[in-house]
């Protein structure tokens, strides 16, 4: 019970401990863990996912989530391919693709905040549409060439031995940590997620807050897509597969809650690190990808049940259930 209590109270604590435990396990189990190559592949998997997880965490804090990030990421990568092969320079490609991601985020925000469609159904719908659109575009650039040098540099380039993508992720971590704590928009996310009705009565524009969180998530998903395809040097139809699930699990493991009102950017990063280390372990143990999916699904169910149990317990404590 004390363990459960610490899970409830100190949210980042659990993900941090899990990460350390996984690192220890990986160190003992596999000789390849502490190698430069593995470190690079960990960065490549953590950085884009964490970038999206910050947006997902902002949404979870105000009580929502977005399942369409995987298709937005895929769409962004394929749009990069279209623009790059069309000869657009990098300073045109990147803003245009970010704009496209932002537009998808705004669509989600419109559906959920304005039309009040259930976030799960709305974003499953946009995910389905997004995949259709992305694959439609993919058919036209299938088997295309590599990206231009400058674009590849975005994914391959390093500063102080660390990928640009990781630096961008760290900058966003600093930004979100600051914004969630010290800006009025960030604080309002917690108020809206904690008690929607009360926040509305206090005069917050809850719809605008939710809309903003969705728009930001779309933007971040397209940024992640750009960085992911730049790293593998050409667009791929497999970019972003299942990443919405990874992000959702990561955010809840890292201290978020489906009930809203809780979470932090550091927690999101720790959650993503946990998921990446887990996948790293699966791969080092040479586990079949199908079985990895089963285990990740079981983790998702566990996390949902755990989250629900803790919320129910809290409600019972204050006598509301």
């Amino acid at each position: 019970m004390t363990l459960l209590k610490s899970f409830a109270r100190k949210n980042e604590f659990v993900s941090a401990v899990s990460c350390v435990a996984l690192v220890v396990l990986l160190t003992v189990k596999g000789e390849v863990f502490w190698t430069a190559g593995n470190f690079e592949s960990l960065q490549a998997s953590i950085a884009p996912t964490a970038i999206m997880a910050f947006g997902m965490m902002a949404l979870l804090i105000c009580g929502y989530f977005d399942l369409s990030i995987s298709s937005t990421m895929l769409l962004a990568g394929i749009l990069c391919g279209h623009l790059e092969y069309g000869g657009a320079p990098i300073y045109v490609t990147v803003p245009l693709v970010l704009l496209a991601g932002f537009a998808v985020g705004c669509l989600n925000g419109f559906l959920v905040a304005r039309l009040r469609i259930n976030a799960l159904i709305a974003t499953i719908g946009t995910q389905y549409i997004g995949y259709g659109a992305a694959m439609l575009l993919w058919d036209k650039i299938r088997g295309g060439a590599k990206f231009s040098e400058s674009f590849i540099l975005l994914g391959e380039g390093k500063m102080l031995g660390v990928y640009y993508a990781t630096w961008i992720m760290l900058a966003l971590l600093a930004f979100f940590s600051f914004a969630l704590k010290y800006t009025s928009a960030g604080r309002q996310l917690y108020f809206v997620g904690g008690n929607r009705e009360a926040s509305r009565l206090m005069g917050f524009n809850d719809r605008r807050i939710i809309f903003g969180a969705f728009a930001a998530t779309g933007l971040l998903a397209s940024l992640a897509g750009i960085l992911a395809v730049a790293r593998i040097q050409s667009p791929s139809q497999y970019t972003g597969g299942g990443v919405h699930m990874t992000c959702m699990i990561a955010c809840v493991v890292g201290g978020g809650s489906f009930a809203g009102g809780r979470g932090s950017a550091v927690g999101a990063l720790l959650g993503v690190a946990f998921m990446s280390l887990l996948t790293n372990m699966f791969n080092l143990l040479e586990m079949k990808p199908q079985l990895q999916n089963v285990i990740i699904g079981l983790i998702l169910v566990t996390v949902i049940v755990m989250d629900g149990y803790l919320n129910l317990k809290k409600l019972r404590e204050i006598g509301k259930a």
Binding site: R116, I124, Y128, L136, Q290, I296, V305
Partner: protein, 327 residues
């Protein structure tokens, strides 16, 4: 019992009147349009083959409709549809079982999975969509794992020919579909037990106060949903003659669309099996029609997604409470 009279099924009290059967007009309009524009559409064999396919998917929509009446959504129907077929293959290829035994076992295992999902949902008061999305992920992984193990192997003739049997030139799966739809419709309107679903969906707290065991009813319906999905998937797989990983993929999108477009509400309290049947007919006829117009599959996907969002939006316009929380 007098007090219960005040709790009429919501479908009888809400506005919408003639529009309750809107889905029938939609299906008719779609059929007329396709008959006029496509020569090959309105032939016995084409309509029959559409209905044959519809019948498999309709089985997966039965439990879904029962759940949506109670305000719960089951997103695992598509994955269980595929997993049912994969399990059938697993039992036949690995344990040399006869087809009926393999099918019965596949359906039973799925029912247990559904029961587990239902139990977790009611026990911890979770959002059923979240739970079933987790179940979907687990089941999809298992499905993928099983199907990969026996790629390229085909069922024996006896294990697949039974699907295409029929009487008077009508396949038995279609006849079963119509019988189930009509019987369930009558039971939902008349049976004391099935009317409970509407009471729960309309106002769960009141229903519980009147002595309805809402948790047990929900668990049973989750099990029915999973079992019937697997049953549909088994038939579909038998028709294909081998387990295939694409069976049932994205089926949940089609089924939510079918249910909501035919008048069920995600807020609970509304829904009917016959109308869901017409909803499924609408969705699959639409797909058939779009294919006959040579519309790209991905464009079809975009159109279906847009229809889903539109249907949900109209549901919210018609059924959501005008004030308060409607997340």
């Amino acid at each position: 019992m007098d007090k219960k009279a005040g709790m009429t099924p919501v479908s009888q009290t809400r506005r919408f009147g003639f529009a309750d059967w809107m889905i029938v007009y939609l299906v008719t309009a779609l059929f007329i349009f396709l008959s006029l524009t496509r020569n090959a559409f309105f032939t016995y064999s084409n309509v029959h083959s559409i209905l044959h396919e519809v019948s498999f998917n309709f089985y997966a929509a039965i439990g879904f409709t029962l759940l949506i009446i109670m305000g719960e959504l089951d997103l695992s129907v598509g994955s269980l549809f595929g997993f049912g077929g994969a399990m059938m293959g697993f039992f036949i290829f690995n344990y040399k079982m006869s087809a009926p035994a393999a099918i019965a076992l596949a359906v039973a295992v799925s029912a247990l999975i559904g029961l587990a999902a239902g139990f977790l949902t009611v026990k911890f008061r979770l959002n059923s969509m979240m739970v079933t999305i987790g179940v979907m992920m687990v089941v999809k992984g298992l499905n993928w794992y099983l199907v990969n193990r026996f790629s390229g192997r085909q069922f024996a003739l006896s294990a697949r020919r039974f699907v295409s049997g029929g009487i008077f030139g009508v396949k038995w799966t279609i006849i079963l579909m119509v019988v189930i739809a009509v019987v369930m419709e009558i039971l939902l309107a008349k049976s004391r037990h099935l009317k409970q679903l509407y009471y729960i969906g309309h106002n769960a707290d009141t229903a519980i106060l009147y002595g309805i065991n809402a948790k047990a009813v929900k668990c049973v319906c989750f099990a029915i949903s999973a079992a019937m999905s697997a049953f549909g998937g088994v038939l579909m797989t038998a028709r294909l003659a081998h387990p295939n990983v694409t069976v049932g993929s994205n089926l949940e999108i089609s089924i939510i669309t079918a249910a909501v477009i035919s008048g069920a509400s995600i807020f609970g309290g509304r829904g009917s099996i016959v109308r869901t049947m017409f909803g499924v007919i609408f969705v699959f006829t639409l797909i058939n029609g779009m294919t006959s117009f040579n519309i790209n599959t991905y464009v079809q996907q975009i159109i279906l997604g847009a229809i889903l969002i539109l249907a949900i939006y109209l549901d919210i316009r018609a059924n959501a409470e005008p004030t308060g929380e409607r997340a």
